[in-house]
Amino acid sequence: MQRLLFALLAGGLFGAGLTVSGMIDTTKVQGWLDVFGDWDPTLAFVMGGAILPMAVAWRIAARRQKTFLDLDLPDLPSDDVTPELITGSVLFGIGWALVGLCPGPALASISFGGWGGGLFLLAMLAGMLFAPGLRAQIFGRLTQTTPRSKMEIRPLTPTYAVSPQIDPADLAAVKAAGYTTIIDNRPDGEIPSHLHTAVMKAAAEELGLAFVANPVIPGGLTMENVRIQSQTIADAPGPVFAYCASGNRCSVVWALVHAGTRSTDDLIRVPSKYGYNLEPLRGQIDALAADAAGGKD
């Protein structure tokens, strides 16, 4: 219920902002895009005004594990620049310039936009309805012809690297990079069967790589996970390569394994190079480090 109220509030604020800023006036939007005509700078002030509170919100979110309603924070979208992104943005830009409406203002102005506003909204919804089918037809082929493997080895130390999900064909490259031991931190339940632990293990062992399954359930990391990771790293004859969905869990376990042996700042800073945010775990790493220190006395 609270969730719906805040969604209503966010929608209301958004609608108010679009109205107050003048962005529901198509001539202001076209005026901003019309560099060779009577240029209207308003839209730049709107964007600037909107980005400020949003940038603060991202900083607050980075320090939290849950929202203020105790809901999950969103997974950050990937940063891949794809043909769909470019083509879609160009088509959107053309349509935006033709009429001067983007999806937010098209919805916000529907009660007073007249027949033109209604027709635009209908056409936009039709475009959205056809978008997935057309995308599959046009970009489905494109995606298949581009090379599939985009594996990226992300070393946290010279002897421990993390990575997003790999597939069996990537293992040869992992071996070639000098790794001797693979840790699979991803539960089978999350992935299609051709990537399941048994398949990966067979492929790794065929190449002479050691393979250890240590599934970490998202949000349900256990000390047993930390112990297995620690043991595997200690026993490995050479560098260790760990993978999960994004590499985040492999980084979290790594930081907990080394709590107390390296500074907490270091354990957080190193994975942040690859965009893994371990800041919310600071307290946990400190507590483990204190435990470890206590145990030695």
């Binding site: 209503l8 958004f14 800023s21 709107v46 929202t67 309603l69 160009v90």
Partner: protein, 142 residues
């Protein structure tokens, strides 16, 4: 009102950013108008339909309450129905392919310095600018 347009623009922008902040920090969602409505249209967002509908109710209901209070609002939309239909189709198709529009890529993406958000924004603004230059100043159609 002409000379004060930038103040209204900035104030409205702050409200838009605040809306995005509420949606992120309370609901744990990234505010993008095209994604919220598009997910309802193509069924990919039906699992949390109520939250999407609540957002849309706020978005649609608040502007007409504000209009009589202090700004005379007219969308000044073109009366050329063919332009409206083509524009609407392109906006619907393009924002779903790009997975975002002015709010998702422009506001939420740029504010966290997302490469995708910045690239998308550059491309739709340049495409929009060229479209207006060509159709308004070269061909004189719109």
């Amino acid at each position: 009102m002409g000379n004060h347009d930038w103040i209204w623009g900035f104030t409205g922008g702050l409200l838009i950013g605040l809306a995005g902040a509420v949606f992120l920090l309370m609901n744990g969602r990234i505010m993008g108008a095209s994604g919220i409505i598009g997910g309802l249209i193509d069924r990919t967002g039906w699992s949390n339909w109520a939250e999407r509908v609540a957002f849309l109710v706020g978005l649609i209901a608040v502007p007409p309450l504000l209009v009589p209070l202090y700004r005379v609002v007219d969308t000044h939309i073109t009366s050329n129905w063919a332009v409206i239909v083509i524009g609407g189709l392109l906006v619907g198709l393009g924002t779903r392919w790009a997975n975002g529009c002015t709010s998702g890529h422009g506001v939420c993406g740029i504010s966290r310095l997302s490469l995708r958000g910045i690239v998308a924004t550059v491309f739709y603004i340049v495409a929009g600018g060229l479209t207006l230059a060509l159709l308004r100043h070269v061909l004189g159609v719109i």
